[in-house]
Symmetry: D2
Amino acid sequence: MDTDVYVHRIRVRPSESDRMGVVHHSRYAVYLEEARTELLRRAGLSYRQIENAGAFLVVTDLVMKFARPVRAFDEVEIECRITSASYVTISHEYAVRVAGQAGPAVTASTRLACVGADGRPRRLPDEILSVVGVT
Amino acid sequence: MDTDVYVHRIRVRPSESDRMGVVHHSRYAVYLEEARTELLRRAGLSYRQIENAGAFLVVTDLVMKFARPVRAFDEVEIECRITSASYVTISHEYAVRVAGQAGPAVTASTRLACVGADGRPRRLPDEILSVVGVT
Amino acid sequence: MDTDVYVHRIRVRPSESDRMGVVHHSRYAVYLEEARTELLRRAGLSYRQIENAGAFLVVTDLVMKFARPVRAFDEVEIECRITSASYVTISHEYAVRVAGQAGPAVTASTRLACVGADGRPRRLPDEILSVVGVT
Amino acid sequence: MDTDVYVHRIRVRPSESDRMGVVHHSRYAVYLEEARTELLRRAGLSYRQIENAGAFLVVTDLVMKFARPVRAFDEVEIECRITSASYVTISHEYAVRVAGQAGPAVTASTRLACVGADGRPRRLPDEILSVVGVT
């Protein structure tokens, strides 16, 4: 199991703020997905290759806690790490911080399951199992 | 060619406003798509059936002019009509109004082309050609 | 505390499906918000009026479990009810179903807190407290 | 008038593809906004500073032509340049390319107008006028 922390950096897009000038809570799910996709890419695993091989990672559980707002144009750091994995699931934890701030704006966790193009559960591809340390 | 005007009604979602409290300009493309999809549905044509038959309508041109803002929670009317059609393309015009206001907030036009699952141009399904008056 | 269930109905927009043809998981947060906003409206409370009076409801906690996919163009029913409330918070539970299907596609819960325009916690407006049964 | 071309690079987010596996046409408006915001930032102008000073750039016209699809996970280059400017408006042109492909996937143009917090037209801040070459 890979417990390394990957920190993904993005800048909040103008379109991602709402009428209070802060990032709409639904957007963080998109940021988390971008961070864990990039975490895999850094480990040499391309989602596109995985999907071309007929394996899709779908979210089964999402928990998010919002402690403080993030604003349009803020630079954001998304800490992302794998917390557990099995032959069919991978769990991640996340902390989203505005660059330079101490406490996280958002903490979150997700659980992914591997499915085939038909939507039915299937074993994770060996390349992923190797990265997440399940053998 | 069907020149009937269909008026589609939606209420702006809280998440669709930006930091100025108004609908982000990119959102109108989504509203227009919803309106023209519903226009076809009223004519007895389901996008899902069309897509299951292997025909997809992709946007090739989009023009939007923004005259005044629309706000979160506003009720919006989207006038939509087909302005021309051929064996492979359909063009629409739109006017987006806040319910009760005279002048349109947004005017727009789109041109769609029919493609197959492989992304290559193909003839529109006969059911659509019949609705749009190309025979 | 209002334990009535409100059922909100929407049709999935074409733009809300992802490359697997199913609704992206981040979108459900938007559907839940639309449902709870409409629940309040049915009780005679307009978010716009509340916000114009300087009170904003921000999400502090979001939990979602995804059991089965929802597809583009599906008609969806979002069951929404208030499960608890205090002078500053309101909690909701939700079940999202494809019309005609028995089991929910998604179950979820949220906790909202009331803040002022400055982002600091404040007491919920009396009109809301009365609807949610906190007196 | 600044006719320099700025090339902005992004990677398509998984959530930005639709059921055909390609970027939904509405998303490009978001990419264009990110590109022109970054173009100004490279010239030393922060949107946040401009907005804090009470000036907002709103889109009045958007034209997009879609020549070929962009797919989830593609790396995209957005060429962006200012084509004309006045005391109250700025126009941009764009070409969106998949990295490594010759022809653009999307070409576009926008016209922005400067408004105050009240939504009424106002003169562009001097810092912008200086960057865009209107004096």
